[in-house]
């Protein structure tokens, strides 16, 4: 890299997935999109299979035989359509990272995409998922493909068999990436070996680091706010107050609730450095770690005021916050965007870990939830996350399952709708 030009700030990366079917490409692609979107980096996935399905909804394995010229032609058309859409998105929708989700298993196909990217000044980065672990592959096939739109309505056994034949057709022409001058990362058997070649930018290294930390072991994440606090009772925001009587009751009930949900699985509890989360977690019989990054959004000058007081003292600010709650930064304080920036190491650590329970605050919880549930920026700051509720998240192949467990302990609502000052509902 002779000169680091600052067009890096206007960088556009095309992540090109490579690999046989049932290697987890789509899962990886979607996780990348979710991660980058959460960091406010515009990312989008373009799945060639979806484009192909518009023409050919239920192909058999023969469709994918390289000698089937009609099949070849239609598949090429689908790829072209996907790429066209992707470049349109780069040009007109300020796209930053576009992901082309397809098998892209031959050198010639990859070269073709490479040419297109270079002409448009988009940086190409290949991500190859290579797997020869039969169990993993079979599991993938069972989980996803038999519920795929291609096989809707068909007998799962037959579908799996047909899918296996489809894979065999791909295998005949598969050329793993070996071109030394390309930017690529090759994940072999879910990361037991990783090859990283010619990473060009910090953003690319972040994507690679993220991929290296992913694992596919089943696990759950539990989220809870602290128990009702003294400040909650009077409608004040911020501060470092103690729990109220009902909050303390929640802390006492929490171990039972958690045990019901977690069972005998090992668990680690993460809290913030503020008293109310630590008091909430103090009866939990698990290893506990405190993270400053889990502290509540800093309200700056408005810390310790009620929403009514804020509306009276800083009416312009109050209105501005409603306009764009995600970007609005309290004077001398933080915005939701700032919270996301400081939460990023937590998210990375969460991806690496197995079972974790986080006891934190309203804004922080909204951000973490938004990451797992892919909630867009204009909605996440307005999500309702009531007190005295344990949320269980179970990340699965194509989405995350959510279970909300309410403790039967009443609490005030700290939820404020747009344009209103907080109404304390007791």
């Amino acid at each position: 890299m002779a000169s680091y030009s600052f067009q890096a700030e206007n960088i556009q990366i095309c992540v090109i997935m490579v690999g046989l079917p049932a290697r987890g490409k789509s899962l990886i692609a979607q996780k990348i999109v979710r991660y980058l979107t959460w960091l406010s980096i515009r990312a989008k996935c373009f799945n060639v299979g979806n484009y192909r399905r518009l023409e050919t909804a239920h192909p058999t394995a023969e469709f994918f035989d390289v000698n089937n010229s009609e099949g070849e032609r239609l598949r090429k058309l689908a790829a072209e359509a996907a790429i066209r859409d992707m470049f349109r998105w780069f040009d007109h929708e300020q796209g930053v990272v576009g992901i082309l989700d397809a098998t892209n298993t031959t050198k010639s196909r990859r070269n073709w995409i490479l040419d297109l990217c270079r002409k448009r000044n988009v940086e190409p980065m290949f991500v190859e998922s290579w797997c020869d672990d039969e169990d993993l592959i079979m599991q993938n096939i069972m989980d996803v493909k038999t519920t795929s739109p291609d096989y809707v309505g068909q007998d799962p056994e037959k579908a799996a068999l047909d899918f296996r034949n489809r894979i065999r057709n791909y295998e005949k022409v598969y050329e793993t990436i070996s071109e030394r001058d390309l930017t690529y990362v090759k994940l072999i058997n879910v990361g037991s070996q990783v090859i990283i070649n010619r990473i060009q930018s910090y953003l690319e290294s972040r994507i690679v680091y993220y991929l290296m930390n992913l694992h596919i072991k089943p696990r759950c994440i539990w989220l809870s706010r602290h128990g009702e606090s003294a400040f909650n009772l009077v409608g004040k925001i911020g501060g470092d107050s103690d729990l109220s009587e009902r909050g303390r009751e929640y802390a006492r009930q929490l171990p039972r609730l958690v045990k019901m949900s977690v069972g005998d699985r090992p668990l680690t509890v993460w809290t913030s450095t503020l008293k109310r989360t630590q008091q909430t977690a103090k009866y939990l019989p698990y290893r506990q770690l405190t993270w400053k990054a889990l502290d509540e959004l800093d309200a700056g000058q408005c810390d310790g005021l009620t929403y009514e007081e804020i509306e009276n003292r800083y009416p312009d600010d109050f209105a501005a916050r409603d306009e764009n709650k995600y970007e609005y930064r309290y004077p001398g304080g933080e915005s939701y965007r700032d919270v996301v920036v400081r939460l990023e190491p937590i998210i990375m650590e969460l991806e690496r870990q197995e079972n974790i329970m986080i006891v934190t605050h309203q804004a922080v919880l909204r951000c973490i939830y938004a990451y797992f549930m892919n909630v867009p920026q204009d909605q996440s700051p307005w999500m309702e996350v009531p007190l005295h509720t344990l949320i269980q998240l179970e990340p699965k192949a194509y989405g995350t399952e959510v279970i909300r467990i309410k403790a039967d302990i009443p609490a005030v609502s700290t939820y404020r709708e747009k344009g209103q000052s907080a109404k304390i509902k007791k």
Partner: protein, 551 residues
């Protein structure tokens, strides 16, 4: 050390020296900590704090010790176990501390949490064994990795076999001619084995006595058989092994390495440049026929090609650390640019409050202009000097990073006007003062006497109510640090002094004890020049700006 309220005016208290033992040591800028930093504390409170340091038996006898790489192991040997590890003298923060030994109770600048065993991430004891021919950048890799891992709180130490070799030769006597040859005489072989044994003994002592977590064993390690022996020996002591091989197939990288190694390695002091390069390349070619690249599939290893162009990670059973190391390696550059540190100008508030985020005063704007002129003039003269010496490498582009606070942005405005790229980074905002915002030193002592006591005991990790600590800052600044490693440009960072302290602490491997006391005057630009073996500091004076309090 109170660093929360910024820019308060300096009190007229007299400067208090750190310790009486320092009389013999030549004065250095860092020794002025009391006068510049302590205006918020009453002088008596200050000297109590530093008097403890002065009379401590550990620091007493070490005033004269100069820790250069070659003398390091010699020092280790001549001291008794009790005094082996010293607390760093504040006045030597201008030297890269990366080669210093860590005390058993050392806690790192960005350590996320402490554990009973002192070992983090439940990864146990790990030895990173470097593999690679000479001039492949192994030592640079060892030094950089040590810096980064220590920063994260992983108790790390690099053991360079070359250092042990130098120590085992009596001063004045040369290495035997056949030392680097494979078919050496029996006496040479015995010498070589003694050297290796001495190095390994220190490695084990590091793990067992000092609760070290990661040891980096920097040597060629050319044969598969030799490596297997190492793995077995380590595993018998409960130490996991991670190999990192540095492979180079581009001659220009190798030659550039030789040239820079020749300059900074103790082996070739006084040699003629051409002779040194030839001698070094001969050393390499003597080993080449007997070099076996890493190929053992059951080992955990990272192969680094051409200084990071390509990275292969195999079998990362040791968990968190290899991933983190690979992330760092993806961003590591051998030819990093310089980093300049400058403070923001004076603001319209005498003691700027965090919450009000004031603008620059007129004086501050004048400072911004002088700062810009000084830095650009300095860079021009450096470039001229380099060309005069035959170094025709082009001047690296300068970029500016500021925080999102107004006075840093406005300080950099002059650069922006002249077309330099300026980027605002929220992570560079100053340490949050919490409840101490806008309070003077006396007011803080009045309102939070208990906190002040605790702060004196641990200025690095202690948090005032609702405030951040230096440790929080360090964790927050990690993405900035990694980007700094990756960008080949020269970077000017305009930020609050609390942030500059942490970043400087990373580049110069300062201990948490020193970081809160680091000095950054307004009439200086601090320049850090990276080099393979250690980073160097230069201070550029800004004329026309008066000295000011560091707060």
């Amino acid at each position: 050390m109170l660093s929360l309220s910024s820019d308060s005016s300096r009190s007229p208290s007299p400067s208090v020296s750190i310790s009486s033992e320092d009389r013999d040591r030549p004065p250095s800028p860092m020794a002025n900590i009391p006068s510049s930093g302590m205006s918020s504390f009453s002088p008596s409170g200050l000297s109590t704090f530093h008097a403890d340091l002065a009379t401590s038996p550990i620091t007493g006898g070490f005033a004269q010790m100069h820790l250069s790489p070659s003398s390091f192991t010699a020092q280790l040997r001549t001291q008794s176990a009790g005094s082996k590890y010293l607390r760093r003298q504040s006045s030597s923060v201008d030297e890269d501390a990366i080669h210093d030994a860590l005390s058993p109770t050392h806690v790192s600048p960005a350590q996320l949490y402490s554990t009973e065993s002192g070992r983090l991430f439940h990864a146990g004891k790990i030895c990173i064994v470097l593999v690679g021919l000479p001039a492949r950048g192994k030592t640079h890799l060892a030094v950089s990795l040590t810096r980064y891992l220590r920063w994260l709180g992983v108790k790390t130490h690099a053991f360079h076999l070359g250092d042990y070799r130098r120590v085992h030769l009596t001063p004045g006597k040369d290495v035997p001619d056949d030392y680097f040859l494979v078919n050496a005489s029996p006496s040479t072989v015995i010498l070589r084995q003694r050297v290796m044994a001495a190095c390994k003994a220190d490695v084990y002592r590091f793990f067992e006595e000092d609760r070290g977590q990661v040891a980096i064993y920097d040597a060629v390690n050319p044969t598969s058989a030799g490596r297997r022996v190492l793995v077995k020996e380590f595993s018998q002591r409960g130490i996991q092994t991670l190999f990192i091989e540095s492979i180079c197939d581009k001659p220009e990288i190798i030659e550039a390495n030789v040239r820079s190694v020749k300059i900074s390695s103790p082996d070739y002091i006084g040699w003629d440049e051409k002779e040194a390069i030839m001698h070094y390349l001969k050393r390499i070619s003597d080993k080449i026929p007997h070099y076996e690249t890493l190929d053992e599939p059951e080992f955990s290893y990272i192969k680094l090609y051409n200084a990071g162009e390509r990275i292969l990670l195999n079998n990362s059973r040791v968990g968190y650390l290899p991933n983190r190391i690979v992330f760092y390696l993806m961003n590591l550059h051998i030819k990093a640019g310089c980093v300049y540190f400058a403070r923001a100008g004076k603001a319209t508030e005498l003691r700027p409050r965090y919450k009000s985020d004031p603008h620059l005063s007129d004086e501050g704007r004048a400072y911004a202009r002088v700062l810009t002129d000084t830095l650009l003039a300095h860079r021009r003269s450096e470039h001229t000097a380099r060309s005069a010496h035959g170094d025709n490498s082009p001047e690296r582009e300068l970029i500016i990073w500021t925080s999102t606070r107004r006075r840093t942005i406005e300080t950099a405005a002059e650069f922006a006007k002249r077309g330099f790229y300026c980027r605002q980074r929220p992570q560079l905002s100053q340490m949050h003062p919490g409840s101490c915002d806008g309070l003077s030193g006396e007011e803080i002592e009045e309102q939070f006497p208990g906190e002040v006591e605790m702060h004196k005991k641990d200025p690095y990790r202690h948090r005032f109510p609702r405030a951040e600590s230096y440790h929080d800052l360090a964790v927050r600044l990690e993405p900035v640090i990694l980007e700094m490693e990756r960008i080949p440009n020269d970077i000017l960072i305009v930020a609050h002094v609390s942030v500059l302290r942490v970043l400087y602490g990373y580049l110069m491997a300062c201990s948490p004890f020193d970081i809160p006391a680091l000095d950054f005057e307004r009439n200086e630009i601090v320049e850090i020049i990276p080099s393979a073996y250690n980073n160097k500091v230069k201070r550029i004076k800004i004329y026309g700006v008066e000295e000011s309090a560091t707060l």
